[in-house]
């Protein structure tokens, strides 16, 4: 306390106060900090190193330079996995979001029953990723399953042996249907966004003679764009990581004819079945870079189509 009377005292006291504030902050943050360094940042660096090595978990890693990455380019299984996953993301995500937005707009206009329908539609998002639902999905689409039978009523093609589950051309649509079925979570987010759009805007536009299509593109889309962006980013990243349903439905094989060999499945096979930890790490880093680039691209493009309230348009 004595040195607070000297001229340099307050500075020192402030410095000490700041140090104490830092200490308290780090104390509260310490679980997160340890977790971040030990379970996220550290492992990321480790897997980057491993991706340049040959490592099978039992003998020490051998540095091989870019060999793993070069092998990826000529690995037909890897290319198949990349293709299947890309198709899943490109078709599944937009269809799911379109369904979510359409139903959200429908529910938004409702005066009664909105809460009930909202909860009910959300249920699939909560259970859709579970093993139970994957088993049900398989049972519905396999052999002469109900889907094939309903399809036959509408003059659909005859089911191949094993139904959709056994037909390499139909496993992807089947899994896309499963993700579209879970449109509830983005729908709930869209609904929350729609609540922020002032009704007077629609009324004013209607008075000025704007039709429903014009109102959708000129009011709903711009005002909803932050939510749209959020959903698009999260659903896209989420879609890249599909595992459970494909694993269960293909019986842990990625089949038939590798039609469900999603990226994460192949990574799992390489890393935890063949114990090619270096190769699997290279795959993981390719995924990180791809997802990172897509996120970056979305963020960049968002400047031209996402409007935050208070922005000048």
């Amino acid at each position: 306390m004595a040195d607070t009377t000297t001229a340099r005292g307050p500075v020192r006291a402030r410095r000490r106060g700041r140090a104490r504030a830092n200490g308290a902050g780090y104390a509260f943050l310490s679980p997160w900090l340890i977790g971040f360094l030990g379970l996220t940042a550290g492992p990321m660096i480790a897997s980057l190193y491993l991706s340049f090595t040959d490592y099978n978990l039992f003998s020490p890693p051998v540095f091989t330079g870019l060999e793993n990455y070069q092998r990826l380019l000529t690995d037909t299984n890897f290319l198949q996995a990349a293709k299947v996953t890309a198709l899943y993301v490109v078709f599944g995500t937009p269809i799911k979001l379109a369904a979510a937005l359409a139903v959200a707009m429908l529910l938004h206009s409702a005066r009664r029953g909105q809460g009930f329908y909202r909860s009910a539609y959300y249920l699939p998002s909560l259970i859709g990723g579970s093993v139970s639902i994957a088993i049900v999905w398989k049972a519905m689409f396999i052999d002469e399953g109900i889907v094939a039978q309903i399809g036959a009523v509408f003059g659909g093609p005859d089911a191949a042996a094993g139904g959709w589950v056994g037909d390499p051309g139909r496993t992807l649509p089947m899994l896309i249907l499963l993700t579209v079925w879970q449109f509830g979570a983005p729908m709930v987010i869209f609904l929350a966004g729609l609540k922020q759009v002032p009704l007077e805007m629609y009324e004013a536009a209607e008075v000025d003679g704007a039709g429903p299509v014009r109102r959708f593109w000129s009011i709903t889309v711009p005002l909803l764009s932050p939510v749209l962006f959020f959903n698009l980013l999260l659903e896209t990243i989420h879609a890249f990581q599909i595992f459970n349903s494909a694993f269960i439905i293909s019986n842990g094989s990625g089949g038939p004819a590798q039609s469900t060999l999603f990226y994460t499945l192949y990574l799992y096979f390489r890393g935890f079945r063949d114990f090619q930890m270096g190769y699997a790490s290279a795959m993981a880093w390719v995924l990180v870079v791809v997802v990172g680039l897509i996120s970056l691209l979305l963020f960049r493009s968002s400047k031209s189509w996402v409007h935050y309230s208070g922005d000048d348009k």
């Binding site: 579970s130 990581q241 694993f247």
Partner: protein, 302 residues
């Protein structure tokens, strides 16, 4: 001004009033159409779930290819079969394993994430903004990039086939979604409360435990529900780390069951699938408002 409002005079206002009346009429007529459409969507959405439930009461050979929902016989036989367990391991062992993991992960997430959220939302310290960006970035990071080194380390530590690899991260706030959810909630609390406490001489621990934490209850409840459900449904983590059937959680047991039973016994599979999903469904019916509210405000994925 108020007079022009009472007596709409301009052409624009007259049109506006007319349109509003028409819109109201349309809405009443549209409401029937709305419910018809909404119910149609509901049927499509719930059909798989209802089909699953009904199938669990049917004899095994009547399930595949049966569009009909009503079981013709069979009753609870499938459930009796499912409850017999797998390969000498009691069904209740799997339930208990799943419960232990779910309870542990709820506890860990509530403790570690609330501390981190308080630090981010209310404390000033060097590097806070950088750490915040890191925390948000981990939400977007594909988790596959960390599982291989994590597996290697847990393997070195002899923790394969224990619950440590599945729980440790929960106690170290690695699930950024929950940190973010709690930050948003704390930011919404009035700062005057902590400022008053500071004047009374309270430090951060006191403010956190006796002011913020009690006020955070809604966020804690939402987090706990999601943490429970996600842990209960988790398949990938247990698949990696649990090798011995006695340690299996429900989803792993379910997969084992499907692998072992002949394909004709779909009935027992469905019964088992229902039983595995039951706690999630119960949580949904009990807490649907918190769940949907949590998604609406935070964009949590189910």
């Amino acid at each position: 001004m108020s007079q022009t409002l009472e007596h709409p005079q301009t052409e624009r206002e007259v049109r506006s009033a007319r349109l509003r009346k028409r819109a109201r009429a349309r809405r009443t007529g549209g409401s029937v159409l709305f419910h018809a459409f909404a119910l149609a969507v509901l049927v499509v959405i719930l059909y798989p779930a209802v089909w699953m439930l009904m199938s669990s009461f049917k004899p095994g050979n009547e399930i595949i290819g049966s569009v009909s929902l009503l079981p013709t016989g069979g009753g609870l036989q499938n459930y009796a079969t499912a409850l017999e367990g797998i390969g000498g391991i009691s069904f209740w062992t799997f339930v208990l394993n799943s419960l232990i993991l779910a309870a542990g992960s709820v506890l860990g997430i509530l403790l570690s994430c609330s501390l981190a959220a308080y630090a981010f939302a209310r404390m000033r310290f060097r590097g806070r903004n950088l750490f915040f960006v890191c925390m948000i970035a981990t939400m977007l990071l594909p988790f596959h990039v960390v599982i291989i080194p994590q597996y290697i380390v847990f393997n070195e530590l002899g923790m394969i086939n224990t619950y440590w690899p599945l729980l440790l991260g929960k106690f170290l706030a690695t699930e950024s979604f929950f940190v973010f959810l709690m930050i948003q909630f704390i930011r919404g609390l009035p700062r005057e409360l902590d400022e008053a406490a500071v004047i009374d001489g309270a430090g951060h621990p006191r403010i956190f435990f006796s002011i913020i934490l009690p006020l955070m209850k809604p966020a804690l409840v939402t987090s706990a529900i999601f943490a429970f459900i996600w842990s209960w449904n988790d398949f990938f983590g247990p698949l990696l780390y649990l090798k011995e059937p006695g340690m299996y959680t429900m989803p792993l047991a379910l997969r084992l069951y499907v692998d072992q039973t002949s394909t004709s016994d779909y009935g027992a599979q469905m019964a088992m699938a229902i039983l595995a999903l039951l706690p999630v469904l119960l949580f949904f019916f009990a807490f649907q408002r918190q769940l949907v509210g949590g998604v609406a405000t935070q964009g949590l994925k189910g």
